[in-house]
């Protein structure tokens, strides 16, 4: 799995951090998403998919690699 975030789209609502705090963080100054781990381990992948699904700004893209 490869995770891409688009900080330009992010509105900082923090849903991704709630779901997968080891993969996503928020910038301290303006709450914009910071990607901590672009290739998360198996155990976190369901939460990352969920984060991409609930992200209100469509700022998270998940590429599933075979």
């Amino acid at each position: 799995m490869n995770v891409i975030v688009d900080a330009g789209k992010c509105c900082g609502a923090g849903q991704c951090v709630l779901l997968a705090p080891d993969v996503f963080d928020q910038n301290e100054d303006d709450g914009i998403v910071v990607l901590l781990d672009a290739t998360p381990p198996e155990a976190l992948r369901a939460a990352v998919r969920e984060a991409a699904e609930v992200c209100p700004a469509a700022a998270i893209t998940v590429e599933e690699r075979p």
């Binding site: 900082g12 303006d30 709450g31 209100p56």
Partner: protein, 408 residues
């Protein structure tokens, strides 16, 4: 066109009025009229107070798609915007009623204290506030109005501290906020209340400019001095945050408590568990089930938008009725059941798209602390009146109860 619901050409007969009334016996359920529209299809026409006939979007999938669509505008000054009520001249609304890039520019300036981590740091302080207020309730006479004694003070104290607003002024800002968000307040009345809040925040910003402290308003004065923000913009954001920061959460506390008292098996889950996961899930389910922002998200199309076999024309208004989308049986099986163990984080009670609630981490944390503390500390909490006599906020832009007499 043979579609009777499409009211183009001013033909509005048969188009239902919006907002719709709830059923008298079901104060927690969305209006039955919305349920019927949802069963017929994802979009329908409704008629507003001014005779206009915007779309109401009733299903979850279509709502999410439209709220996230950049061709959909939240700008209240655009023709076709489906206003809740007559708009007073010189309104004070901030970025909640603006589009990007202006919306994004302003929202980013106030986001810092609302990040998940910063909010988590505030949890012990909120727990203390909640414990102290419960101590006071238990030491006082009964019955007591839970709204006045607990539901309003909790989020008001928190947002005051965060913004740098003196809590001693709470009667002033709570009363004026109530008027601003009352659907049936006369336009002049609402304008006057808004102007009073605006003048109050402007004055506070002035004082923070002279004497900055460690709070959000003071940080905004830094932006003013750097020429990135006008004083008027700062005051307007202050008004938005102050109103949004206390009215909503207060209603969730009081209405949530009433809903739990009516569902004793669900209340027992919270009273008997200290599992933070269960509590967090309960908060999401209560947000979904109660969906207190029952006036719908208001939007207007910037271009023609095709969706589910319909075309929303450029300049047409849309109302995303989140309350009925959160009861969409396609997404939430048994949607009208309050089920605290349901996994419902995908609800749209905070909206969706770039306007999704800025304060949601704070609201979640406050509600988690409240719901996990109140019923454990007052296990015999009960309603001190008949459900019929509880004054519901049918006339509010935000739903809730005006009073909640409780005893124990």
């Amino acid at each position: 066109m043979t579609d009777t619901l499409s009211a183009a050409g001013g033909e509005t007969a048969g188009v239902p009025e919006f907002p719709m009334p709830r059923a008298a016996r079901c104060p927690f359920d969305p209006p039955p009229g919305l349920r019927s529209l949802q069963e017929e299809g994802p979009l329908a026409r409704v008629r507003l107070w001014d005779g206009s006939t915007p779309w109401v979007v009733t299903r979850y999938a279509e709502q999410r798609a439209l709220m996230a669509d950049p061709r959909v505008s939240a700008d209240i000054t655009r023709p076709g915007y489906p206003a809740q009520a007559p708009m007073p001249k010189g309104s004070f609304a901030s970025f909640i009623l603006m589009d990007d890039p202006e919306h994004h520019r302003l929202r980013r300036m106030v986001q810092a204290p609302f990040t998940v981590k910063r909010v988590e740091e505030m949890r012990p302080a909120v727990q203390r506030i909640v414990d102290d207020l419960i101590d006071a309730v238990l030491a006082g006479p009964k019955p007591v109005d839970l709204v006045e004694a607990f539901a309003l003070p909790v989020p008001s104290l928190v947002i005051c501290e965060l913004l740098g607003v003196p809590y001693d002024d709470h009667d002033f800002f709570q009363d004026n906020s109530k008027t601003v968000i009352r659907r049936d307040a006369a336009p002049e009345e609402r304008a006057a209340a808004g102007a009073r809040l605006n003048a109050y925040l402007d004055d506070l910003v002035g004082r923070k400019l002279a004497e900055p402290a460690d709070d959000l308003l003071s940080r905004l004065t830094g932006r003013i001095e750097a020429g990135e923000l006008s004083r008027a913009e700062a005051a307007q954001m202050g008004v938005l945050l102050l109103i949004a920061g206390h009215e909503t959460t207060a209603n969730m506390i009081a209405l949530g408590t009433l809903a739990l008292l009516r569902h004793p098996d669900q209340l027992a889950l919270l009273r008997e568990s200290d599992d933070p996961k269960l509590v967090a899930g309960a908060v999401e389910e209560l947000l979904r089930y109660l969906n207190i922002t029952h006036s719908g998200r208001r939007r207007v199309a910037l271009e023609d938008i095709e969706i589910s076999g319909q075309v929303i024309r450029a300049g047409e208004g849309m109302i995303m009725a989140n309350d009925i989308a959160n009861r969409d049986p396609e997404v939430f099986p048994g949607p009208d059941d309050l089920d605290l163990r349901r996994d419902a984080p995908r609800h749209v009670a905070f909206g969706f798209g770039v306007h999704q609630c800025l304060g949601q981490p704070l609201a979640r944390m406050e509600l988690q602390v409240v719901y996990s503390t109140l019923y454990r500390r007052i296990p015999t909490l009960s309603l001190a009146t008949d459900l019929d006599r509880v004054p519901f906020k049918h006339d509010g832009q935000v739903y809730g109860v005006y009073e909640l007499p409780v005893t124990w």
